[in-house]
């Protein structure tokens, strides 16, 4: 059966729970992409904020007739708008870091598998060293050296993730290398770049796709944790982690909503991505043959 998107969606939606979270994911992506069009205000345009609205609980009315669905923070910002803007930044940083790790991983993994020998050994020993350390610690140390900043966070996330990609891509490339189509391609004396990009890589795709989605969820959580600790993104790039950390001091006095709701949004995003990737893992299994 030829792969097409409608067919895929049909089989995907056989699992109702997975379908529910898939729809969730699409809603979140919609919110994130069209965020500025649908939010009540631009939460970081100070002229739109009113200090009289600060620290309002959820569902309370604003000074100027608007309703704040999830309440406001200490600056009088609508929390829902802040969350949507925060998710934008979190998803942007997460996907950027995954894309870069993916590129680095593909290059190193394929080079490793294709050339073997000393190059392979060297790359894989370095990857092992990286994998031996918890990724949170690697990112924390790098950020403690580099300081806060969007580029630094992306760099730190890439440094803690590339090794997983390189390992997985290498192992699937190694098993593809033994297959007949690869030998035929070599016998045809095709250029190396074409063998790698035209033949080897497309066949390694399924595990790469699954790994990317898992790592996206992981990168988002990691960035949120780092930003929460105050070593991640700067205050000028308020990701969801920073919004939660902003509400942290108000928890003790019972103003729970400033940390609860951003965290719930983060949780729903991460769970949706995780369940999506779990479903993909089952569906992309070549033995099932969609």
């Amino acid at each position: 059966m030829k792969f097409n998107i409608i067919n895929f969606l049909k089989i995907y939606s056989e699992d109702k729970l997975a379908l529910f979270f898939f729809i969730n994911l699409i809603i979140i992506l919609g919110l994130v992409i069209f965020g500025p069009l649908i939010t009540l205000q631009n939460p970081y345009d100070l002229s739109q904020l009113n200090i009289l609205d600060s620290l309002l609980p959820p569902l309370s009315q604003a000074y100027e007739n608007n309703y704040f669905l999830l309440g406001t923070d200490d600056q009088g910002r609508d929390l829902l708008s802040a969350i949507i803007y925060g998710l934008r930044i979190s998803l942007y940083v997460g996907s950027l870091s995954v894309i870069i790790s993916l590129i680095v991983g593909i290059i190193l993994g394929v080079v490793s598998a294709y050339f073997g020998g000393f190059v392979d050994n060297f790359i894989m020993r370095v990857a092992d060293m990286v994998l031996a350390m918890p990724s949170f610690l690697i990112a924390l140390v790098l950020l403690s050296i580099l300081g806060r900043g969007l580029e630094n966070v992306v760099f730190a996330l890439v440094m803690s993730q590339w090794a997983t990609f390189a390992r997985v891509i290498r192992s699937s490339a190694l098993s593809e290398k033994e297959k007949d189509y690869f030998y035929s391609a070599r016998c045809l004396c095709l250029p190396q770049s074409r063998i790698i990009f035209g033949h080897l890589l497309p066949n390694c795709l399924p595990p790469i796709i699954v790994l990317s989605t898992i790592n996206l969820a992981f990168a988002i959580t990691l960035e949120a944790s780092l930003s929460f600790l105050g070593v991640g993104l700067p205050i000028t790039e308020p990701s969801i982690g920073l919004i939660i950390s902003n509400g942290y001091e108000y928890i003790i006095v019972g103003k729970y909503w400033m940390s609860l709701y951003p965290g719930l949004f983060l949780l729903i995003t991460v769970v949706s991505i995780n369940i999506f990737s779990d479903r993909l893992r089952i569906l992309l299994n070549p033995r099932l043959n969609i």
Binding site: A132, M133, P134, F136, L137, L140, V141, L143, S144, I145, L146, G147, A217, T221, A224, S225, F228, L229, G230, V231, G241, I244, G247, Y248, I251, I252, G254, Y256, S259, L260, G263, L266, L267, V270, V271, N274, I275, D278
Partner: protein
């Protein structure tokens, strides 16, 4: 065994040396602690004096060799901020972190293995399905947010458990532990639950998968045919067989948890190493950062070694070979 051990110790030593160079160069090459440490109104003379006192006027290589020379004496430099040996600062806080990590791991093991066994034995009933669903959910929970929610529920709304600090401690061999007093134990509950969620989910999944794979094997069928009780089959035959991957993961998780304790300690104001490193990062206290990392790498290697040795006790098929 002896040769294996010496080999491993030499290897670990080389890794430690390489790590020290890497970390030292990275931490010392970037960021200037002088800006943070010296009063901007201090005179030029005073500035130079402080720089000289801290040894910051020497080149990177000189600094590294001085560091290395002292490291062999067991000194990992003086903290710029606290003006005390960095290693003492860390060792003072190590018991608190270990206490937190070990109790989290214990919670994960005590609840994780039985839940995994229950789910693994009858994968299709409702209880098992909900156990598995919860474990997937636990994987996705951001640790720091769960910490906040725990504080919100159990410390602010219902005053069950205190949310900050360690409470009363008791001194044993010069180190302070809080799990021996009732007050300390109460302080330990929330942080260790917070830290336990991730390894709990992992152990449930692992036990579940292990049991699923082992149940159809011949030796279980044979044990059943022999008429052994269900309890004996599960505890002596099944669990013993699946313990190896679980022990590996517990070992690895121990190191991961020490790293993740940074988050939990920051939220619950737990006076461990993790809080120290966050403070040191914000204050650019280089010697403490370097010492912390080296202590962490040392702990990792120690745990890995212990796990490797444990293998040979658990599985007679893996006897450590003397190469």
């Amino acid at each position: 065994m002896l040769i294996f051990l010496t080999n491993r110790i030499i290897q670990s030593f080389i890794v430690l040396l390489a790590m020290s160079l890497l970390v030292f160069a990275a931490v010392y090459a970037i960021g200037n602690p002088i800006d943070v440490l010296i009063n901007p109104e201090a005179s030029e003379e005073e500035k130079l004096k402080t720089i000289k006192n801290l040894g910051l006027d020497k080149s990177l290589f000189e600094q590294y060799f001085i560091f290395l020379k002292n490291a062999f004496k067991g000194e990992l430099g003086y903290s710029f901020v606290h003006n005390r040996p960095a290693i003492t600062l860390i060792l003072e806080r190590l018991p608190a972190t270990l206490e937190l990590t070990i109790s989290a791991l214990l919670i994960a093991i005590i609840f994780g293995i039985p839940l995994g066994v229950i789910a693994g034995l009858n994968p299709n009933n409702l209880v098992s399905k909900s156990i598995l669903a919860t474990s997937i959910f636990f994987f996705s929970l951001p640790t720091f947010w769960v910490g906040l929610i725990l504080i919100m529920l159990f410390a602010v709304s219902y005053n069950f458990f205190p949310s900050t600090g360690r409470g009363d401690t008791i001194e044993i061999f010069g180190f302070y532990f809080s799990f021996l007093t009732f007050d300390g134990l109460k302080h330990l509950v929330l942080p260790s639950i917070n830290l336990a969620l991730y390894p709990l989910a992992l152990i449930i999944r692992l036990t579940f998968a292990g049991i699923q794979e082992t149940l159809p094997l011949d030796f279980i069928k044979f044990a059943k045919a022999k008429g052994l009780s269900r309890f004996r089959i599960i505890t002596f035959h099944l669990l013993k067989y699946i313990l190896i991957p679980i022990v590996t993961v517990i070992g690895l998780q121990f190191s991961v948890l020490i790293a993740f304790a940074v988050i939990t300690e920051s939220i619950f104001a737990w006076p461990g190493m993790g809080r120290l490193i966050i403070e040191s990062i914000t204050l650019l206290d280089r010697p403490v950062i370097v010492a912390y990392l080296l202590v962490i790498v040392f702990i990792f290697m120690l745990v890995n070694l212990i796990v490797d040795i444990l293998y040979s006790f658990l599985d007679p098929r893996i006897r450590i070979s003397d190469k």
